[in-house]
Amino acid sequence: MQENENQPIRQEHAGFPWKQVIGLLLSLALTFLALWIAVGLSLPVNVTIAIIVALAIFQAFIQLFMFMHVTEGTEPVHQLISILFGIYVAFAVVAGTIWILYAQMG
């Protein structure tokens, strides 16, 4: 399978790595923002948790799109659907487990 070795490769990535640098700065900013909201402010616990979880999800998407090239490939729809299904099931197991084990009668 070596015959493809000389295929043309797109050189789109020449120049300063803006995408990566912005990704890094954003994730650092989000991290410290979350820390400040959790430790620095004293919002009600539920509100705090809602905000920091939202920030974490936002940051995860930054990694996914800025660093991980999730939309690349011959048929990127395959990995996109896989990740979406994974998110669906992961959400089911986290939310379901918490709901079931916290909402119990005595």
Binding site: P8, F67, G73
Partner: protein, 209 residues
């Protein structure tokens, strides 16, 4: 030209980076994405378990008493930066620059080692000074296994990148080594994503509660 194992129309592949240039590369990258999707559920299950056990301290130390902001922030920043350097290595891969690729991967591995060092130290401190081990309470079992699983993934990533570095040094950038370097990059970024949630769900909520 030999007729290959699979029959998918290879035309689309021409405009894609080197790691997609063979059918094998294409398959393995998709396969790895699917694997990462499965890992989402694996970590999801660990998170769910940790979160329901978080308050089950059984008289032992609680999250609030245990976690120190300083070391955790260092771990977090180190891992975030390593994700960035790993992103740069993929960039150098795309530029066909072996030296740059190897260089940034080496930096990434070193940052990974720093992270593991800090995490190991954190675990050790808990165990040695607070008497907090996996056997202390359900909360601590959850904590050590969730973070331990992540840490084991990072350690495996370090060994894996080291193996790929050897192959890159020996063979340069070929479709096969390009694919390997790209996939290990995906893996590394994914671990960063997991850490973001550990940081939020374990440490931040631990401090909040």
């Amino acid at each position: 030209m030999a007729e290959s194992l699979l029959s998918l129309n290879p035309k689309k592949r021409k405009d894609l980076p080197l790691e997609y240039s063979t059918e094998e590369g294409d398959l393995k990258i998709v396969g790895f994405w699917v694997f990462l999707a499965a890992e989402l559920v694996l970590f999801g299950t660990l998170f769910g378990s940790y979160l329901v056990l978080q308050s089950h301290t059984a008289g032992g130390p609680s999250a609030h008493e245990l976690f120190k902001i300083g070391p955790v922030m260092i771990e977090t920043v180190v891992l975030l930066v390593s994700s960035f350097t790993c992103g740069l290595s993929t960039l150098e891969l795309r530029r066909h620059n072996v030296k740059g690729l190897i260089g940034w991967l080496v930096v990434t591995v070193l940052l990974g080692l720093v992270f593991i060092g800090f995490e190991g130290n954190e675990f050790f401190t808990y165990a040695a000074h607070e008497g907090a081990t996996l056997q202390t309470s359900a909360f601590l079992s959850g904590f050590f296994i969730l973070l331990g699983t992540h840490g084991a993934h990072v350690s495996l990533g370090i060994v894996w990148i080291a193996g790929i570095l050897i192959q890159l040094a020996r063979r340069g950038i070929t479709p096969v080594t390009a694919r390997k370097a790209f996939i290990v990059g995906l893996y590394w970024h994914f671990l960063d994503v997991v850490w973001i949630f550990i940081f939020t769900a374990v440490y931040l909520t631990g401090w909040v509660m």
